[in-house]
Symmetry: C2
Subunit: 387 residues, 2 copies
């Protein structure tokens, strides 16, 4: 029963806890990954985030945004008109006509992880700034293309790039952002690690595409298994967070073992991110998330809670299957009923349990001296965010 | 009048001729680029290719295809199903179900240029093979995305990837191919030049996107100037041929000056390639090209001959402008009349002249000892191909 307590730690107590209860890293990882009974009993990600941790994490996000800003703007500025303006619009720097805007910008979670990973390994902001900008560019390449593929009308409350400039130009902007990411990394990563950094980013892109492919393919399939879902999410979301952390360590001169540990940490954290995303879609507050309620359910998406409910072999799971397969339009009322069915079929609890397990696996992968307060705060922000 | 004779050299006589007539490189380049009278008088690219040169060039293409084959297949093989199968289909290795095919494959012009540039600088096939595979992958990234953007139904007589697997998956395959190109280069380019090689390839990708953007933007514009066209073509086609040659030199350990000369050589050759493409669309033999006649004219494209005709201030040019602006459907008969108008307005002659000038500028950029028989043969194959 010792194991079950290890993932009930509150923020900042993770490592002390692991030490106190004497759980070995492999044992924690194995349990966290595979013992469903154990997982179901846990719910640490549903606890509210304490104020100090949230402030620490948000400060790191804000610093990361500031640090990469000149590198990002220089990279985007190297694009020819109007690709530079389209990118500026997407990043929230200007309107569609190029008039400067203040405010609304992305979260910068990935760059913040790169900086925090670098700092944990003794690196400076300067060591990691190009890697941090590169992961942000690659993230935005995937957002711009995803919006085209999903025909998503809005992002952060503004019309998506493809809606303003058309699908062709949005595809081209994404292509250019992917190339810029690699270019920025080559231009500025510490010379001794440039090649390895670029290989990692290029491989991450291939993995991202695989994950996105699977996510799209799921839409036309009646069922998806939990393992298939987790594999998809590891590609679509885990790979880039893993890369963000690994590049931070690499640019700080960490050895192979540490880089690899940071990669696992980030990949598991990416799974947490995706699971929480799926969770928020169903049980988040639209007033806080800023997104329409039950969007995944309305689009009959095989999100993680839905996958769990459909394979639960419960009455509620069977009701959900019928609702998903029916030809009736998925109205808001039906989606609300679907949300209840998912919960009754255990989808809510299993999602929280799996997110907890992945959070624990993330920390289990890190050598004790690397789980700094900053990485811990960022990880818990990911796990306990409400938007 | 000495200058005018310099670009009438037959294959293999380029350098001897330049030496014989004592024309300096800058003078040749300046003349080739800007003297329209001079350019119009020349027609070297319309001469047939002699048999020995064609055999030499085709042998280099075939060797390049063989040399990169294992690297390409390993890279594609690293993609998850079905992206690997989609790529194999696109490369002509298999049908849509993955059943192996023999025969039909791409020309491998870009890899052949990489190998020839490397050899000119004393490098081996092994030095250049990853760079050659990388440029071929990047070329195919752009083909797969272009086919989506242009809604092109066929490539090499087979349905395009987006028609078999949908636009979303074709976009993802292109994204993955772009990343694979960088990955292959990082994995295998000589270590001393990996970073520079990757930067060059990433910048090339950004330039490609800019060129493709402009090409798309031209479609909605009533007129395009010759300079705008040439700038677009330098991005869309010149950049990758320039990169192919520069990477060959770089991987062979050539110094900065030589790499830069090879880049200019390839960029100018890329312009020739695009101009000949435009030429063939109007005056090529569909039985030889394998493409429908007058496809550019039917789509009212601003190809180079059309741009020249529209700005010619001739009666035929004005007729063409009226035909392009009319709302009547562009039937095959109307397109045939458009072809006559383009020719009467001087578009055919100016295209040949400009292609000749670019071919000359390509050779003018190369130090004498680098214009090997192989590079010369490949360049003349580009300039005088009929398909």
């Amino acid at each position: 029963m010792r194991a079950a307590r290890t993932i009930k730690f509150t923020v900042g107590q993770h490592l002390e806890g692991r030490r106190r209860w004497g759980l070995s890293r492999p044992a924690a990882a194995a349990l966290a990954g595979h013992d469903e009974t154990f997982v179901r009993a846990n719910d640490s990600v549903s606890l509210p985030l304490d104020g100090a941790t949230e402030r620490r994490a948000r400060k790191r996000l804000s610093e990361a945004r500031t640090a990469i800003d000149p590198v990002l703007r220089a990279a985007i500025g190297s694009l020819a008109e109007p690709l530079d303006r389209m990118a500026g619009y997407h990043f929230g720097w200007c309107d569609a006509d190029g008039v400067e805007l203040e405010g609304a910008q992305g979260k910068s979670l990935r760059p913040a992880l790169t900086f925090a990973a670098a700092a944990a390994c003794g690196g400076s902001v300067q060591d990691a700034v190009h890697a941090a900008a590169a992961v942000e560019l690659l993230h935005n390449f995937s957002l711009v293309h995803d919006d085209v593929m999903d025909t998503a009308p809005f992002r952060h409350g503004r019309p998506t790039v493809w809606r303003v400039w058309g699908e062709t130009n949005a595809t081209l902007l994404g292509d250019a952002l992917q190339a810029l990411a690699l270019g920025v990394l080559c231009d500025g990563a510490p010379e001794a690690v440039t090649a390895e950094a670029v290989i990692r980013l290029a491989r991450t892109t291939v993995t991202l595409c695989r994950g996105q492919y699977e996510d799209c393919a799921f839409e036309t399939r009646p069922t998806v298994t939990v393992d298939e879902y987790l594999n998809m999410a590891a590609g679509k979301t885990g790979a880039l967070l893993g890369c963000a952390c690994a590049l931070g360590a690499l640019c700080a001169g960490a050895d192979h073992r540490v880089v690899s540990a940071m990669h696992t940490f980030g990949t598991e954290l990416g799974l947490v991110f995706q699971l929480v995303d799926d969770f928020i879609d169903i049980w988040g507050d639209p007033a806080i998330t800023g997104k329409p309620a039950h969007s995944d359910l309305i689009h009959r998406k095989q999100s993680f809670p839905v996958v769990c409910a459909l394979e639960s072999e419960t009455a509620a799971g069977r009701d959900l299957a019928r609702l998903y397969q029916s030809r009736h339009p998925m109205t808001a009322a039906r989606a609300a009923r679907a949300a209840d069915m998912v919960e009754q079929a255990g989808g809510r609890q299993r999602t929280l349990g799996r997110a907890s397990a992945s959070l624990d696996a993330a920390f289990a992968a890190l050598p004790d001296d690397l789980a700094t307060d900053d990485l811990t705060a960022l990880a818990h922000l990911v796990a306990r965010r409400d938007h």
